[in-house]
């Protein structure tokens, strides 16, 4: 059998389904389906571009991207934190984009300095306190929660969650490792209970009286508030006299070996645009990155705050150092 015939046969039998492709974009997403599908549906309706996606944690998705190499079907990677985006960029699976639209829509500190990924929504991590036992005047900063006056009054989510790893990474960036370790050790000494598996559980512990303060992403507070409007908890914007509230992003980049790079870039630009931003952020009570778009009503009601302007990139760069530090401090 000739080589040609063999390959025609092989290709013919296996390729038939993949050849039928109108314009489409393939997405690997760590952001959950119920938060992206409505937007994707809208985009398909508006533009005719079909979008297929799979969702998983960022780690396995990244591993898959790397293994598939230049033959990956994925055009875009979406994550829910900057650390994983930083690592995706480091491992070379994301393409550098030159997009005036994205540069205009996404603030400088919420995107990769080299243009390989862009934040699409802001997630603020701040202090939540019991309105029965704490007054806002007693609160000030993340650092202050290490003070012995909070002994037995602090609840925290586990250090295994990337949100806490990013927060501690910014403490390292600002104060250096030694000081940051003292702060984290202080937190551990103040814990009223073993760290919780998620933010909601930590807040419920505060409400039930197990402790007085905790640190959470604001949208978890929003969800709890929606379910129990009279909940005896409130948000406190941390570090307003110093660095500002810790910010992370949910963001995305176009893959280096994208089969539809232009289509993927257009989708990314659309996601950062005024048309999409309100829904992208609003559906999960996060903050839009596009400054021309107002936050969702519930979110806006929490008031404005000064945000940390450190580039979210740092969270990725210092993530491993942060985990080591938390291990040393005994923060589980």
């Amino acid at each position: 059998m000739s080589r040609l015939m063999f390959s025609v046969l092989l290709a013919g039998t296996m390729l038939a389904p993949t050849l039928v492709s109108a314009e489409e974009v393939v997405v690997y997403s760590a952001r959950k389906e119920h938060l992206i599908k409505p937007l994707f549906d809208r985009y398909t309706e508006e533009t005719g571009v079909s979008i297929s996606y799979i969702t998983d944690k960022a780690g396995p998705l990244l591993q898959r991207l790397r293994a598939e190499g230049k033959r990956t079907p994925a055009d875009m990677l979406i994550t829910v934190d900057a650390g994983n985006l930083w690592h995706a960029a480091e491992s070379g699976v994301l393409a550098k984009l030159d997009s005036p639209v994205l540069d205009a829509n996404v603030p400088v500190n919420l995107r990769d300095p080299e243009g390989r990924w862009f934040g699409l929504s802001e997630r603020a991590r701040t202090i939540v306190y019991s309105t029965e036992r704490v007054t806002p005047a007693q609160l000030s900063s993340y650092e202050d929660l290490a003070d012995p006056k909070w002994r037995g009054k602090l609840c925290l989510r586990t250090s295994k969650k990337v949100y806490n790893q990013s927060l501690v990474a910014t403490l390292i960036a600002r104060h250096g490792e030694e000081k940051a370790e003292q702060i984290v050790s202080g937190w551990v000494a103040n814990l009223a209970a073993a760290p919780f598996s998620n933010d909601t559980k930590a807040m419920q512990a505060v409400e039930a009286g197990q402790c007085d303060v905790t640190i959470v992403n604001t949208y978890y507070f929003g969800r709890l508030q929606n379910k129990q409007p009279d909940i005896k908890l409130a948000l406190f914007w941390a570090n307003q006299d110093s660095s500002g509230v810790h910010i992370n992003v949910s963001g995305a980049g176009v893959t280096r070996y994208a089969k539809h790079p232009e289509a993927a870039q257009r989708l990314l630009e659309w996601l950062s645009s005024e048309t999409a931003q309100a829904e992208f952020a609003g559906s999960n009570m996060e903050f839009p990155v596009n400054s021309k778009v107002a936050a969702d009503e519930t979110v806006a009601a929490w008031g404005s705050f000064k945000a940390d302007e450190l580039n979210v990139n740092e969270a990725g760069r210092l993530q491993a150092a942060a985990i080591r530090l938390m291990d040393r401090a005994g923060y589980r």
Binding site: F6, K32, S52, R71, A194
Partner: protein
Amino acid sequence: MADTPALDLGSSRRVGRVAPDDLWRWAARLLAVSVLIPLAVILGSWLYFDPGVWSHLGATVLPQLLVNTFWLVAGVAVGTLLLGVPLAWLTVMCEFPGRRILDWALMLPFALPAYVLAFVFVGVLDFAGPLQVGLRGLLGLPPAWSFEVRNTLGVIIVMTLVLYPYVYMLARVAFLGQGQSAYEAGRSLGLGPWAAFFRVSLPMARPAIIAGLSLALMEALADFGAVSVFNFDTFTTAIYKSWFGFFDLQSAAQLASILLTIVLVALVVERRFRDRARYTESGRGGAQRRMRLGGRRAIAASLFGWGVFVLAFAAPALRLATWAWGAVGDLDLRYLDLFVHTLSLGVMAGVLTVSAAFVLAFAHRYHADYSTALSVRISTLGYALPGSVLAVGVMLSLTWFDNRLADTIEWLSGEDVGLVLSGTVVALLMAYFARFLAVAYGPVDSSLERIRPSIRDAARSLGAGQWETVWRVYLPMLRPGLLTAGLLVLVDVMKEMPATLLLRPFGWDTLAVRIYELTSEGEWERAALPAVALLLVGLLPVIMLVRKSAH
């Protein structure tokens, strides 16, 4: 009772054609290789060594999590044996109020994923849960009054409640196979009821019990979902930390391969002990007269059975159902797809792994040589690995092969056809196969072990050929074991999360994927809806199985 298993050795030495012996052996080796490849990817991590992560883990978290892992394994071993074996004995051998229902109801907890029970347990019993809040309110106790459930004991209780069905189901099949005769023989030789249980029935059921126990322990070792609800650090936690935290897949894989080695050694040691004795049964099983328990004994048996059922299943299922009722608005037509995907993946994987398990068990028992025995051990290792790690092993090896295939086609035709196998159901089935072969092998092998070799000799002497013997003698006799194996794999695949997430084709979402989507965002109440759906789908095969095997 002692027979040599390899009766066929002589016939395999013929020259010029493939003897049946060799066929079984080569089949076993081939199956082992398909499991070995993804495992080899994990073991290959030792080619690179980064002392940084290791010395850090060693200096900080490793000592504690080794202690934790030890207590978890020890606790789950004791717990699952104490629940599984007596319950199986009571429902098979005795008659007491509620027995007919408990017989199958006690299998139901198996349909409940460990992470779901863990969440319900912590949600209800923790400081901020309704029980403690209610108690404090009712008794006017200060907030300081509380008890802690997120600790070692809590993890062990939850794991025991979801994993005891492995022991229960396998022991149940063994006791059913023994029938009353062995026990009665013991009694008639002057043993009391307890002595007859401990000295006759229990030793005869040992292969099955050990098989169930090792499945339970391997799952406990590999679990990530439930322990993370408790924020309880085990070996698996360290693997995840190295991978997702330090982005160091090498160290993660090295940790995982240590886990593998420990399990391999444990299995080999167990096998050594077991090989000293042979367990076969007298032909008469099946129809039997149960011991009727009276008075206090009947009440105790009943309370024990119902207590376990309520704690492990009824109460958490009720809690889930009330949550699901609140989220019923999420129910849409796509659930139909989710059902179909979940079930069809489970059935495909079930058929595949049970067939393979039969081949392996048969090769091992009757055509064993050293390398076949090794093949069998290797094939059943996948279950001890955390699902994510195994999934990555499968993904890496498959994509590698796929890329080479595409390279070849490109070289032949000048056209890049892309990846052919990755992202198809094939990838997913490979992962299920590698992971759940152990689950199917346990019940099949332990039922095979109890069939006397003389039965085969009888069939052969009556003129039945090799294949006819398998088809007409072994398959019917193995039916309860094969069914149990199929059920276990089916339900396990339906609950499986990490491999399904990583390897599923576009659009192939399952109920477990939906649960993940919601729980990873902390939306547990909404996740109850797919969890209840998963329970319902999981119950069907359980009930089916009971119908077929109870008589």
